[in-house]
Amino acid sequence: MSDPVISRRALLATLGGALVTQAAGARTRPPSSTPRARVIDCHAHLRHRSHASWRDDDRKLIEAADKLGIDQLCCSLLTPVKPATAEQFRECNQWVAEGMRRFPGRVLGYCFVNPGYGREALDEIRRCIEDRGFIGVKLYNDYRANEPVVWPVVELTIKLRVPILHHAGHPTWLSQPQPHMSDGGHLVELADRYPEAMLICGHLGGGGDWEWTIKALRNGASVYLDTSGTVIDEGMIEMATRMLGADRILFGCDMSMTAGIGKIRAVTLAAAEKDQILGTNMQGLLSRRGTA
């Protein structure tokens, strides 16, 4: 990995103003004790191979991470057309496994499944986590997070001690393009049923009304929130940190790399809190299985 253009010091810099402290009542969990906090993008994707440029695109992703000081990218690979069949999600995961070998230590793999395939989905998760060293499961919008069909997947991830990154968002009714998309409320409902599950609510900055999402997650203490997405609205990270606590926020880009880094660099937080968001929290999740 070459020297990043954006230094870690710049990433952690507190730019003007007073430090933001956690709001009274925000849940405080001590950060994991690790020798050096890595910067981990908890939400990334490798390119589907139906794109002729997939090899170059994957390389560019790593180069962008190099420039921006991102140490590791947690990647899934989704089918262009959804819902995915079992054959298709197995193919995607095979390509992720190859990406992990191509970029060792840089690409960490999420196993993508469609829970509607029942036993085939569960078998694929076991194979990816136990045999191939994947770090978690990626669920998209095939079903809402609170639907019973998802429960066996959640139960298996609890057993395997790996997180689920769940595609999520709360668009306004006028622009609802994904009828089965989960939102923060669905994830909190799932967390109420399975408090020991490690659930990550996807892309605060890419799923519609982010203020709604933050407020919906407020009382779902075991649900983490990833910061990824193209939306760079001022104040979104501060509000998330204030309401949920820095220990529930995970840095992510979802391929919007400068947006992702810029959002975190912008906020006035204590260096320790930025460290938590940038990587320590995710390292904590990965360490539960020993894949950190």
Partner: protein, 271 residues
């Protein structure tokens, strides 16, 4: 650094921070942004946009060395010719921002063409934000699409002597606006606020297709964090001379800023 994409005042659908003049100046100081093109955020949803311009004029009065005011004028609303005159002659506006979707008109409407030409006769620059918010997060009260790039291209053809700043857009390279030999006059620049410099690298493609003088620094603050745009400048893989053009020279030329202003060293908070 000059930011071509900044705002003051309240927005109807979301609380903004750093939206008073003193607050925005502090934010600019902390990011080494010397000057910013500002318009009224409230004027986007006021029926009578001129009330927002009056608020803006009052806000920027003491900070004219830092703020470059643009008026928001709605050519579909009564009295727009008077508003244009007041914005220019009394408020000292250097340009106008147009919101055709929010204000319910088309850029091809005769009144809009007349407004653009009248503004250009006064040497005012026209700025068109392609969006205010990401459509997925808009209030349930509104459903405002982005401004169509073909519509903008047609306006540029209709008004070849006007000068335009396009902000809050992306995907230009898939439209005539961002393509080589597009048959359009070279009378517009594009801000980087929602463009990529990594992966697809739309900034790099625009520099290649249109020339380095056609890209300018803009953040969208305080709607947006300014830092993503700053990070883009840091990792953009071009010469320092090209970066300096994007940071200030390109827009200083477009806005015809006095040489002293264009070269003014960073002075810190003007209070």
């Amino acid at each position: 650094m000059i930011d071509v994409n900044a705002y003051l005042g309240h927005f109807a659908f979301r609380q903004l921070r750093h939206n008073r003049a003193d607050q925005l100046l502090r934010l600019m100081d902390s990011r080494n942004i010397e000057q910013a093109v500002v318009s009224s955020a409230a004027a986007i949803t006021y029926r009578n946009a001129q009330a927002g311009n009056e608020e803006l004029a009052s806000d920027v009065q003491r900070h004219r060395d830092r703020f470059i005011p643009f008026g928001v004028v709605n050519p579909a609303y009564a009295g727009w010719r008077d508003d244009l005159k007041i914005c220019h002659e009394e408020f000292g506006a250097k340009g106008l921002r147009l919101y055709p979707r929010w204000h319910n008109y088309d850029l091809s409407d005769p009144d809009c063409i007349e407004l653009v030409n009248a503004a250009s006769d006064r040497s005012l620059v026209i700025s068109i934000p392609l969006r205010v918010e990401d459509r997925r997060q808009q209030s349930w009260l509104v459903d405002i699409p982005d401004v169509d790039k073909e519509e903008i291209a047609a306006l540029m053809k209709s008004c070849p002597d006007s000068r335009f700043i396009l902000v809050n857009g992306s995907g230009y390279v898939r439209s005539p606006l961002g393509q080589t030999n597009n048959g359009l006059p070279a009378n517009y620049v594009i801000d980087i606020s929602l463009l990529t410099v990594e992966l697809e690298n739309e900034v790099g493609q625009l520099i290649e297709n249109l020339g380095p003088e056609r890209v300018v620094f803009g953040s969208g603050m305080p709607f947006h964090y300014p830092d993503p745009a700053i990070v883009k400048m840091e990792i953009l893989d071009v010469s320092e001379a090209v970066k300096e053009g994007i940071r200030r020279r390109n827009v200083a030329r477009l806005l015809r800023l006095p040489a002293a202003s264009a070269k003014r060293p960073y002075l810190g908070l003007a209070e």
